[in-house]
């Protein structure tokens, strides 16, 4: 076998010329083909093989009706499978988020909302507030003053309670 850096021999050059002529569709010089040991039929066959190597196989017009009769049902079946697959993908891609949203809504509207929210007690009253309330339970001559003090203590507690409750209902931490 020859290496790449060696010069082609005359025999090889003649063979290449015969093959090139066959590929171009030109008649090769008879002397070249014969001298190369490559007959015209051999060169044409080789050229035909090379031509078809990179190309799809063409169906001769005479065979088209029978080939099409076989291929058309297969293509239709393939197309139908593709459509069914596409529908399945669409349905799955919608059903999964819809199911997830439904599950989330169910959780948020039942377990996530009422049970935990109603189970949380208001903030603990301060010692001052409890003292003011205890003072107001004594009654006596000045119940109004004790209750007014209780009302003042309640204002700060009320703001804290309302703010915490609103945040809980809005889902804030």
């Amino acid at each position: 076998m020859k290496t790449d850096d060696e010069e082609p021999t005359e025999q090889e050059e003649r063979e290449a010329a015969a093959l090139a002529a066959a590929l171009e569709g030109e008649p090769a010089p008879a002397g070249d083909a014969e001298a190369a040991g490559l007959g015209p039929d051999d060169a044409l066959e080789t050229a035909a093989l090379l031509r078809h190597a990179g190309r799809p196989i063409a169906v001769p017009p005479a065979a088209e009706p029978s080939v099409a009769a076989k291929v058309a049902p297969l293509l239709d079946a393939r197309r139908a499978r593709g459509r069914r697959g596409g529908r399945r993908w669409i349905a799955t891609s919608l059903a999964l988020p819809a199911a997830a949203a439904g599950a989330w809504l169910l959780f948020a509207t039942t377990a996530g909302r009422h049970a935990p929210l109603s189970m949380v007690a208001p903030p603990p009253p301060s010692a001052d507030l409890l003292a003011a309330q205890a003072e107001a339970t004594r009654g006596g001559r000045t119940p109004g003053a004790a209750i007014a003090r209780l009302d003042v203590e309640m204002r700060a507690y009320r703001r804290r309670y309302h703010e915490g409750l609103r945040r809980r209902l809005e889902g804030e931490p």
Binding site: I57, A58, V59, P61, E64, P65, V67, A68, A69, V71, A72, L75, R79, R83, G86, I90, A91, L94, P97, A98, A101, G102, L105, T109, R113, L117, S118, M119, V120, A121, P122, P123, P124, P125, A127, L130, Q133, A134, A136, T137, R138, G139, P143, G144, I147, A148, L150, D151, M154, R155, R158, R159, Y161, H162, E163, L165, R166, L169, E170, G171
Partner: protein, 196 residues
């Protein structure tokens, strides 16, 4: 094997993609769009309900703040009107019942306290009764209503009823103090309530 595209004169069906027919693949897409709209609508409604809850709480906050401001300016009537607006309007049913009760009872306590300050113990007694009719629990709001009802009884010279209310309020106050000393009632679950 790849078939060459047939010529126009070929008497067999074209194996290349057929033209789109009406309804081919459009029905699933329409259904999908409808399903998506439905999901979005349900999610939107859920968010709106949640927003409705917090709007009522925000309204209560606002009305109490207005009452504070009016009382500071000596305008008792405007303060009472602001609070009456809260108890007269129907409370949304999706606010947790204990919180709805607490907010309304607290508002009745303030109304009764304003009436007592205005030397109108009968109106104070009526407000306290309405508040207590919403439910009972051993909490701060019920204790406050008992205190103010006791004061109204006292102002009406009904010493026995006043003493009973004061005593009941003091029992609750003792429990709240004990809870507070144990580490706060905020982390504890709500005490069971007695329905009216």
């Amino acid at each position: 094997m790849t078939a060459r595209r047939p010529t126009r004169s070929a008497p067999y069906p074209d194996p290349l993609p057929a033209p789109r027919r009406e309804g081919d693949g459009t029905r699933p897409r329409r259904l999908a769009a409808l399903a998506l709209l439905g999901v979005l609508a349900v999610v939107g409604c859920a968010r709106a309900r949640r927003a409705g809850d917090s709007r009522w709480i925000a309204e209560a906050e606002h009305r109490h703040a207005v009452a504070d401001q009016e009382l500071q300016g000596g305008n008792v009537r405007a303060a009472r009107d602001a609070l009456r607006g809260l108890v007269d309007a129907p409370a949304p049913g999706d606010v947790p019942a204990p919180d709805r009760r607490s907010i309304l009872q607290d508002t009745y306590f303030r109304l009764a306290e304003i009436d007592l300050g205005a030397r109108n113990p009968r109106a104070a007694l009526a407000s306290a009764e309405r508040g207590l009719a919403l439910g009972r629990a051993d909490d701060l709001f019920v204790a406050n209503l008992l205190v103010v009802r006791g004061a109204a009884h006292e102002a009406l010279d009904d010493g026995a009823a006043a003493a009973a209310d004061y005593h009941e309020a003091l029992v609750i106050n003792d429990k709240l103090l004990a809870d507070s000393l144990r580490g706060g009632a905020g982390a504890a679950p709500r005490a069971p309530e007695a329905q009216p």
